[in-house]
């Protein structure tokens, strides 16, 4: 029975000791404090900022800490068109992020190149970094971004984090709306 379990805590019965699976605890911590690194390149960055604003409040999920430094962040949200000129910058910043790290491709341009089928645009950021969640939209509404981040949380919750803690993990992309 290797599934993760939710843990409840009744101090009178259990006496200040919580028994749970390592996976559950580690994933619970990681899920509820994903610190995004906003790779805000173009128009999607504005919707990312709006999601951080008061109306759509990404802070409810613990994600308002938008760290621009890759060393301090967990999740890189690629928001906007990635051009070939910019590709090396995105890749380098991804490599500087510390594991565990995830990548969210926000918007059509980051997912597949969007409506810019031209000589200068990278046709999808997944050509250079492994993407965990794709969010469609041009730009996606902040609610769609939050939905995507919740999908990411679901994904993190299912990760076998305790197993092979010292070994790096490969990432598998999940499309928005896929049955989990």
């Amino acid at each position: 029975m290797a599934t993760h379990t939710e843990f409840a805590y009744n101090s009178k019965v259990e006496g200040e000791v919580v028994v749970s699976q390592a996976d559950a605890v580690i994933n619970w911590v990681r899920t509820h404090s994903v610190w995004p690194m906003p790779m805000g390149l173009a128009c999607c960055a504005i919707e990312l900022m709006a999601a951080g604003g008061a109306r759509f409040d990404i802070s409810r999920f613990g994600m308002e800490v938008m760290r621009f430094s890759p060393r301090q962040s967990d999740c890189m949200i690629v928001a906007g068109t990635v051009t070939y000129k910019m590709a090396e910058v995105v890749r380098r910043i991804y490599e500087q992020m510390a594991a565990p790290k995830w990548v969210v491709a926000m918007g059509a341009c980051a997912s597949t190149g969007g409506m810019y089928r031209s000589y200068a645009v990278l046709q999808g950021v997944d050509r250079i970094v492994p993407v965990d969640v794709y969010i469609s939209g041009c730009p996606p509404r902040p609610e769609a971004l939050l939905d995507g981040m919740m999908l990411l949380q679901e994904k993190i919750r299912r990760e076998p984090s305790a197993r092979g803690l010292l070994k790096p993990r490969a990432h598998e992309p999940v499309a928005v709306g896929a049955k989990l």
Binding site: Y84, K85, S118, Y119, R127
Partner: protein
């Protein structure tokens, strides 16, 4: 509105009027451009060079042109000046960056997009594409999807295996032109390009 064109024609014999839908416009040969521009700025007081762009007229004779938009901030009126680069294989036009500093970046862009050299420019290098890019994108024979080449950064190319590819057109661009207006270059991939569809895996993915 035509008085400025008449003034210029009277002053410079090589100036010819240019048909235009809105503002007065003149044609100037490239070798006289610098002297013409000097007079335009110092005596006629067209103090703002708003815009400058290259055009590929795609004709067998002089193919590359540069079009300037000048503005008189006192009289609030525009003037368009068009010139043609004398050599099709190595197009070059005198640079106006010494007279109007705004020309600096615009000329770099025209060089980047068309390959038109601007003689006398302080720093003529690519501005929108990366420095090692081999092609001139806005030329008519260059396809919109691009031509496959190497990624500008060698370490990223090595780590990911990505290249600068021809963007998958998926049957587009989507419009039909009548024969007389079909001036699109035959280098554009049209609706027969099905080389990459959702059925085939993206490079890097397994099946």
């Amino acid at each position: 509105m035509d008085t400025i064109v008449d003034t210029l024609k009277a002053r410079f014999p090589f100036v010819t009027p240019r048909p235009s839908s809105d503002t007065p416009a003149v044609n100037v040969p490239a070798d006289q451009l610098l002297a013409f521009a000097q007079v335009l700025r110092d005596e006629l007081r067209y103090d703002m060079l708003l815009d400058l762009c290259g055009v590929d007229w795609d004709v067998a004779s002089l193919r590359f042109g540069v079009v300037y938009q000048f503005y008189h901030s006192g009289k609030k009126c525009f003037l368009r000046v068009a010139t043609l680069a004398p050599d099709n294989m190595a197009p070059a036009v005198p640079s106006l960056a010494g007279l109007w500093p705004s020309a600096d970046w615009h000329e770099r862009e025209a060089y980047d997009m068309f390959g038109i050299r601007f003689d006398g420019h302080p720093n003529l290098k690519r501005i929108l594409m990366w420095d090692g890019y081999e092609f001139y994108p806005l030329r008519k024979e260059f396809p919109l999807a691009g031509i496959e080449s190497e990624l500008p950064a060698a370490d990223t190319a090595e780590a990911t295996g990505a290249k600068v590819i021809a963007a998958p057109m998926m049957g587009g661009p989507f419009y039909s032109g009548t024969e007389e207006h079909y001036h699109m270059s035959s280098a554009e991939p049209r609706a027969n390009d099905q080389s990459w569809t959702e059925d085939k895996p993206k490079p890097g993915q397994k099946g």
